[in-house]
Symmetry: C2
């Protein structure tokens, strides 16, 4: 099934079940008013939500109950989250970052996952503008996949992790490249360099991917457009060094995950460079390695990024993230 | 006034108003069922909560409505949060960390605040045990102060930040010292090294500190005990390089803060070493600088840490954080 959160009913929106073709939706207040509440009560909520989904798909619903689904009207599926942690599972991308600045990547990076802790209070909707105070911050997208988990106890092993993955999404992990070097040099990781993140219009259960979900990995390409031109369409199932099951083992080493935790894959990247890139930083690194310096600039105000995934029949699975970069309003 | 969240009514608990002497409490479901909802509606909720507080203080309440307040029964005031960011405002402490490993601290650390992004889904109550899978992780406390903000827009300046600080708390920012070096060496900051954090039994408005709250700083000592012995009682108002107003300017450079954001001060630390320390890492660094190696070990299972702040009359302001370190349960 496919679920979304429409922008009514406060900061958490209102949970809706969305048709497979992303044209129709229906609210489900009697099952769960919000996505967070659905995830916290997934064992009872999921079968009921799925029953509504089947009726919606079969056309077996009163016309008055359903409405036209428009991704402009939705928050991210979880409009805010208590825990957003993003992996860097495509280690070839990390290797490239290091290579571009002439540094060796430690061999341990192939065995020990790298993640960063994000904030979940200020997520953007899939069609919301990206507000940035200055173009000089070096505005970039990162196209990724992500999972939503239920409660996961500390010390969970990869082999036991699959049961905790309830929903899948796409991500635009907006990054401010020119703030990052000084920030990382301080040693405590990202903060200012990782502003509000956006997720796809709908979150879907694993069966919506058919055979394309396997062993904690999405086996489909993720397509990124910048201003209408394809930037990349790498295969998410290729070169993913750590799958989501392994990422869950890593992030539960010393803590429990609350229900509604979002775990990201990191920027999708293939060794096959003909697949293109999922962020401008990678494009610029490849240019640096080839030409000694980057040619492509980061995003400017007015630039539009679009991130989408299609099934084997060419249908959009999650709907598209499509966001325009704009100047941030000054506080009053 | 003083507010707490009792452990009934689900993961967010139930908001209660607590008497100044921390002996009595009363639920306020008609004003706000949870702390998160109170913070989101602070402008209307605060005067109503304060009216209840005044009636509770004056003894002008029916006996049946109020109940005995016991810090064992509460979550942290915000039982979970969408945004937990912790500063390192006591730069002398950071300088000491570097000195102990023979490294220079960059001069910029005196002008550019250092923060790390924490997760807010798995906060501990003030009297909850601290579950850790292994004593080898290097278990340590960090005693700190913290503020809870309402919604703070991007690009807020320090001079405009005071209005956004709604409540104050104490923090035990539990740290796993032996996981941290390898984690920070990867370059993306803390994750496994910073497990679940605990906060004081009550959160208080600034007037509860009398003149001790000034210019975004708490001007009182913070007392840390380990197994009944004083570890330190440094002055929070001394050597705080960045006050909370400056920290708010830093953390809103590229993002908004959602209502209910918690900002921590970092480990309280004074140049006057006779004040003792607020974490074992600092004790060990001082020993390393003096003797070449540390003598004090990190916490073991069964060890108890207590963190408390007293007003000038010797009354506990926030109640005590008091936590025992225990082995983490293995998942079923």
């Amino acid at each position: 099934m496919k679920l979304a959160s429409v922008k009514t009913g406060g900061r958490d929106g209102k949970l809706v079940v969305v048709s497979r073709d992303l044209t129709k939706a229906i609210t489900v207040p009697d099952i769960a008013p919000t996505m967070q509440i659905a995830i916290e009560n997934w064992q009872t909520a999921a079968p009921q939500l799925n029953a509504v989904y089947e009726r919606l798909e079969s056309g077996n619903l009163q016309g008055a109950e359903q409405f036209h689904f428009d991704p402009v009207d939705v928050h991210s599926p979880l409009p805010r989250t208590y825990h957003w942690v993003d992996g860097s599972a495509y280690v070839n991308h990390v290797e490239l970052v290091r290579k571009a600045r002439g540094a060796e990547m430690p061999e341990s990076f192939w065995h020990d996952p790298l993640v960063y802790q994000g904030a979940g209070d200020d997520l953007l909707g899939p069609r919301d503008d990206i507000p940035v105070p200055s173009e000089d911050f070096g505005i970039d997208m990162e196209s990724e996949t992500a999972v939503i988990t239920d409660y996961v106890p500390m010390s969970t092993k990869a082999k036991d992790a699959a049961q905790h993955i309830k929903l899948l999404m796409l991500v635009n992990d907006v990054s401010l490249r020119n703030l990052i070097p000084a920030e990382l040099a301080k040693g405590f990781g990202f903060y200012q360099g990782k502003p509000a993140t956006a997720f796809s219009p709908v979150a879907v259960t694993q069966d919506e991917l058919g055979g394309a979900w396997n062993e904690g990995t999405v086996n489909l390409p993720l397509v990124t457009h910048l201003n209408g031109k394809v930037l990349g369409q790498p295969e998410c199932g290729v070169d993913m060094t750590f799958n989501f099951l392994q990422l869950i083992e890593h992030v539960t080493k010393s803590r429990n995950l609350g229900a509604g935790t979002i775990i990201g894959s990191g920027t999708i990247s293939n060794y096959d460079r003909s697949r293109g890139s999922s962020c401008l930083a990678e494009v610029r690194m490849l240019e640096t390695i080839e030409h000694g310096k980057p040619k492509t600039s980061f995003m400017k105000y007015g630039d539009v990024v679009r991130i989408e995934m299609f099934d084997k029949e060419g249908n959009s699975i999650f709907g598209a993230i499509e966001q325009k970069v704009v100047p941030a309003p000054q506080p009053e």
